[in-house]
Symmetry: C2
Subunit: 318 residues, 2 copies
């Protein structure tokens, strides 16, 4: 039951994150974020003078949410918010109803803000209904939803997002930042509004395509010796474990020194998504935004790269 009054259009989801931080947090305030996480949250927190405290999720547990006690270990008098990205970038993890209820209870108990980045929410590959932060009862005044048209309509670059909250005090503070920067991009807004008329088939075609790509990529990754990827339930990413010493080195080596029949693969080292030193060192984020045919080829090239890479480390089992 969101109304137009609850929605403030922003210059991309990025600005919605920044304005959420600016409006709800004082310098020195802390935000708890499950890691691995989208790296730019950190930059926006620095801009707002706030501090991100991360709570580890692991590939071994499929990046599921840690127990309540782990959150409570981090909560102190400066803790003001929990930030989640659901479905998750970089892991593709989708929070279950049980996990969302756990977050709701924490938010309620400690009177925190819940920043919920749901820009990938159309990309969900499980039968069960999607649980948005806006569905959680009893924390309506604490919840700020971050949205964007970039992923929904493949409109990255038009810079149209939204900040959505039922809390009028937050909206009032956010509007001050909005008025200072005058307006989100006009032409982008016209494009975004027109995109709302996209027919049902558009979504269905896009969805079917991503389901195919996901199956192709995840099956293919898990068939490569020493590689492991959980099955992502949402978004269009996965974080995979590779038999390598250091993903920064490996990804750079793929681009600079390796090729197989004139081709190579470009991946994001997962280390950039962790703040814990050393975490994710043998993990990469793979985006399945290429056509299935190109993904199949990329899997062949990746397998060859892993065979040839001088820093290969045999997996100790999972």
């Amino acid at each position: 039951n969101v109304t137009a009054d609850d929605i403030i259009i922003t210059s991309g989801g990025s600005e919605a994150v920044l304005f959420s931080f600016m409006s709800c947090l004082n310098p020195g305030d802390e935000i708890i974020v499950p890691e691995p996480a989208y790296a730019n949250y950190m930059a926006f927190a620095i801009s707002a003078g706030a501090k991100i405290r991360t709570i580890a999720t692991t590939i071994e547990e499929g990046f599921s949410l840690p127990k309540v006690e782990k959150f409570e270990e981090l909560i102190n008098e400066r803790t003001r918010a929990i930030l989640i990205c659901n479905p998750n970038n970089p892991t593709g993890y989708l929070y279950t109803r049980r996990e969302m209820n756990q977050i709701r209870d924490l938010v309620k108990k400690y009177d925190l803000y819940l920043f919920s980045d749901e820009v990938y929410r159309e990309y969900i590959y499980t039968g069960s209904p999607y649980i948005s932060a806006m569905h959680l009862e009893g924390i309506e005044q604490n919840t700020i939803l971050i949205d964007s048209v970039s992923k929904r309509y493949s409109e990255c670059g038009i810079r149209v997002g939204a900040l959505i909250t039922k809390n009028p005090e937050i909206r009032k503070a956010v509007m001050k930042f909005c008025q200072a920067r005058l307006s989100p991009p006009l032409i982008g807004q016209i494009v975004a509004e027109a995109s709302l008329d996209a027919p049902e088939e558009y979504y269905r075609d896009v969805y079917d395509e991503y389901v195919e790509r996901r199956k192709c990529l995840i099956d293919g990754l898990n068939r490569i010796p020493g590689v492991y990827s959980p099955i992502p339930m949402g978004a269009f990413y996965t974080v995979a474990k590779l038999p390598i010493d250091d993903s920064d080195k490996f990804c750079r080596w793929c681009l600079e020194e390796f090729n197989y029949e004139g081709e190579t693969v470009m991946m994001a080292p997962a280390s950039g998504f962790y703040t814990t030193p050393g975490a994710g060192r043998n993990q990469v984020r793979v985006a399945y935004v290429l056509k299935k045919h190109d993904l199949e080829r990329a899997l062949v090239v990746l397998a060859k790269a892993l065979e040839a890479y001088p820093g290969r480390v045999e997996d100790d089992g999972l």
Copy 2:
């Protein structure tokens, strides 16, 4: 001798101001700004945790820059920058070579940054050559120019501006903020790039039109009893003194309670451009962005409004 490497494209001039502050200032640092000034500088300073200290310019002196001593009274160990808007919003004042040299000497002597907002620099109605902050010798590493296509091509809302500096350290810091928010609006960038091909006549026609409008407005204002406007040398604004008690009240009254033959005038109370309490209370900012015919009519309506306004105060002479 600016090169492409010196230019960083931003989401409007607004973001260029914000990123300048974020990149050059620490929380608590001070910026000296001649007032009246564009109100949103204040909002961006608050976002960056910086503090704006204003130095008064007066309508009686045509909004010319105060003496060096007045600046030096404000300079302390937290002073990090001077910000000017040239030609000025809201006054239309254009800094002379002597004034620009005075600013250069201050910047040099105290090793300050110079933020120079020159988004109106095509709108100059004096024969003498324009002195940009980028022309000032010996402070190349201290100077940051703020630019925008909004005024040049009447493209407000496409949100394409630029931050220009010869200082590579500043550019490096600014790029971190740029990378966090990903990109300025793509479609706006395409439009802005195409606009660079605007033919010579476009500028000439726009220029001639503004010269006409300026003459029409300023002559008309000064013919209304009790009204005084200096002659603005740039931009498309003037700050005029009216025979009224309070411009906030008067501007509101014009919109809510007054009409002449079914029409009224909308002006910006100048109080919003001052931080000094009470300053500009009998001043308004008038933008001459209407067609000459409409400006003529607006002058008639304004004269009638001033006759009818219950808070009229007779001018004590200028």
